[in-house]
């Protein structure tokens, strides 16, 4: 049985400490001096939203991947299901913090969402904005909070049910749990298809309230999925190197590498589909979204594209690089940072704007989340055997060869 290594635990505590320090600094020391606008005050909140959404996405993507494995009766992945379950254990944590952020925004503790601004929905006010007023039926605090609660409770519930069922797979050869998992997964996938898009509109797209894009939900989903597959591969490689996963062979890692490669391309495809139509039609209310991203944020934006597209395309294309653990880990680290930057660039222009920088607050919060993530996930991994003992596909997974 796997034990949470004391060294890793110490590292995770240290990282959590850095994260807390960064957040405290951001909230109290950074915002103390007066004379700054909303952007400056938003910075620690935006940093929290970026990191929380990124890690919530990783755990949600892992839950989606887990559900796909059950719903599609997949054989090869039986040996990594416990890793996916471990990652989903972060979902209730990040979900809880997400609700805190949502409530804080709705009660005007920050101004992350432009549509919550004072008087913006009031025709009498000088801040009145008729375009935003037209979205009132959807973008109002009560409905917004209600939706966020429904997403998070729905996802967390699915994660908990799948975990409970899989624990029964350790006990005996009775396969009722497996059949129930298939049903649960199928229902969750339908729920996920709608809510993953809606959550992306709510939490991310409504920051730039005037602007909208019809494939935004898919675009965010693609980023989430790449991040979580990459995280799964990194954890699998780490555990395999430590000798804890004897039932995994090169082919399993190769397959995870293929997912990283394929969904990097898929992400780029969606990114470009969104960009090109807006670029081509050149309509002012649409291009406003890309003006800061090709102006103030150009350097970051291009770096992010290179890290998330050019790197994986050229490096992960060959078979050998997907089978080389060191190579794959390096690419995984690049892609994690790249997709973090992607979330950063989705959130920052509309919240922090010209006051942006990537400093102690952002990086520290990120490190804190890494620590918290490691602590929660590895504690969960160490709780039960790393292989579901009586999973019907164990034999097939063990002999997996491509």
């Amino acid at each position: 049985m796997y034990q949470f290594p004391a060294k890793l635990k110490t590292i995770s505590y240290a990282l959590i400490g850095i994260g807390l320090a960064a957040l405290l600094y951001g909230f109290f020391a950074g915002g103390a001096d007066a004379g700054h606008g909303h952007g400056h005050d938003n910075r620690p909140w935006a940093s929290l939203l970026i990191n929380n959404f990124f890690f919530l996405g990783i755990s949600l993507g892992a839950l989606f991947f887990l559900a796909v494995q059950y719903a599609a009766n997949v054989g090869w992945s039986a040996g990594i299901l416990r890793i996916l379950e471990g990652i989903t254990s972060f979902l209730p944590v990040a979900g809880g913090i997400m609700l805190v952020i949502v409530l804080a925004s709705m009660f005007h503790l920050n101004h992350l969402y432009h549509w919550t601004a004072e008087g913006i929905m009031d025709p009498e006010s000088e801040h009145f904005d008729s375009i935003i007023h037209g979205k009132k039926a959807f973008l109002n605090p009560l409905f917004f909070i209600l939706r966020s609660v429904i997403y998070i409770i729905g996802w967390a519930y699915a994660a908990i049910v799948l975990r409970k069922l899989s624990l029964q797979g350790d006990r005996g050869t009775d396969l009722t749990w497996y059949n129930k998992s298939i049903k649960t997964s199928a229902i969750f996938l339908v729920f996920f298809a709608v809510t993953s898009s809606m959550a992306a509109w709510d939490w991310i797209m409504s920051i730039d309230t005037h602007w909208f894009s019809t494939l935004f939900g898919w675009y965010v989903f693609a980023g989430i999925f790449v991040s979580s597959v990459t995280t799964t591969a990194l954890i699998a490689i780490h555990l395999k190197n430590k000798g804890h996963l004897p039932w995994l062979n090169d082919s399993h890692i190769h397959d995870l590498g293929k997912f990283m490669f394929a969904f990097s391309i898929f992400w780029t495809y969606l990114w470009f589909s969104q960009f090109m139509l807006i670029w081509y039609s050149n309509i002012p209310e649409e291009v406003t979204y890309y003006m800061p991203r090709f102006g103030e944020f150009k350097g970051l934006f291009i770096t992010m594209l290179v890290m998330n597209f050019i790197f994986p395309l050229l490096i992960l294309m060959s078979r050998d690089s997907k089978r080389n653990f060191g190579f794959l880990s390096f690419m995984g680290a690049v892609m994690i940072v790249g997709h973090w930057l992607n979330v950063y660039i989705m959130v920052t222009p509309g919240t922090v704007g010209l006051d942006w920088s990537i400093g102690f607050v952002e990086i520290g919060t990120f490190l804190g989340y890494v620590g918290l993530f490691i602590w929660v996930v590895f504690k969960r991994l160490a709780a039960v055997p790393l292989l579901i003992q009586h999973h019907p596909m164990n034999k097939e997974s063990e002999h997996f060869h491509i």
Binding site: F272, F275, M276, W279, Y280, S281, N282, S318, R319, H401
Partner: protein, 185 residues
């Protein structure tokens, strides 16, 4: 006849038996020229010690070629020969209009990679229209697996080994037959 090089064909009726037999035959120093199977047998190329295909490398080269052709095509037609005002942004440079060309670049890359790979495959396998099948035994298109072995050393020993590992039928393919088969083809 004992020490001359001769070619033996062995028939198997089970792909697992066939796969397992290959190792012991190759260990004895015999060269397996060809294996005919009714369906692709997983792991066969690995057991035979075949080199990995270089098709992936050609695919990459063809893709780059396609990308180059598409760049030339879009530059010549849209910028150089008859400059176009694309999306209300008359920049008249290829680079600034690049997003509009990406679908073309992508499709040509895929088109070149896919089609040229098919032709490469045909050429490398000597396949062309009207080519006669090289199959020595029609049973290998139904339920039998046939292996052609170049016997080095004692032919009797090889026959015994083949029987031991589970061959259901063993035949001698003489060199004269081989020459005829090639001439016919």
């Amino acid at each position: 006849m004992a020490n001359t090089k001769s070619i033996i064909s062995a028939l198997f009726d089970d792909d697992d038996v066939l796969l397992k037999s290959i190792k012991s035959i190759r260990e004895k120093g015999h060269k397996i020229r060809e294996v005919y199977t009714p369906f692709p047998v997983h792991g066969l190329d690995h057991e035979l010690g075949l080199e990995r295909t270089r098709m992936a490398i050609t695919a990459f080269i063809y893709g780059v070629l396609g990308l180059g052709v598409a760049m030339t095509l879009t530059y010549y037609t849209m910028i150089y020969d008859w400059p176009q005002n694309i999306g209300g942004k008359p920049s008249m440079t290829w680079w600034k209009n690049m997003p509009a060309f990406v679908p073309v670049l992508f499709e040509m890359t895929v088109f070149f990679a896919a089609h040229l790979m098919v032709w490469t495959y045909f050429v490398r396998n000597d396949m062309y229209p009207g080519r006669k099948a090289m199959n020595p035994d029609p049973r290998t298109t139904d339920d039998m697996f046939m292996m052609e072995i170049e016997c080095s050393g004692d032919e009797e020993l090889l026959r015994n080994l083949l029987k031991e590992v589970g061959a259901v039928e063993i035949n001698l393919v003489s060199k004269a037959d081989e020459a005829e088969a090639l001439a016919e083809a």
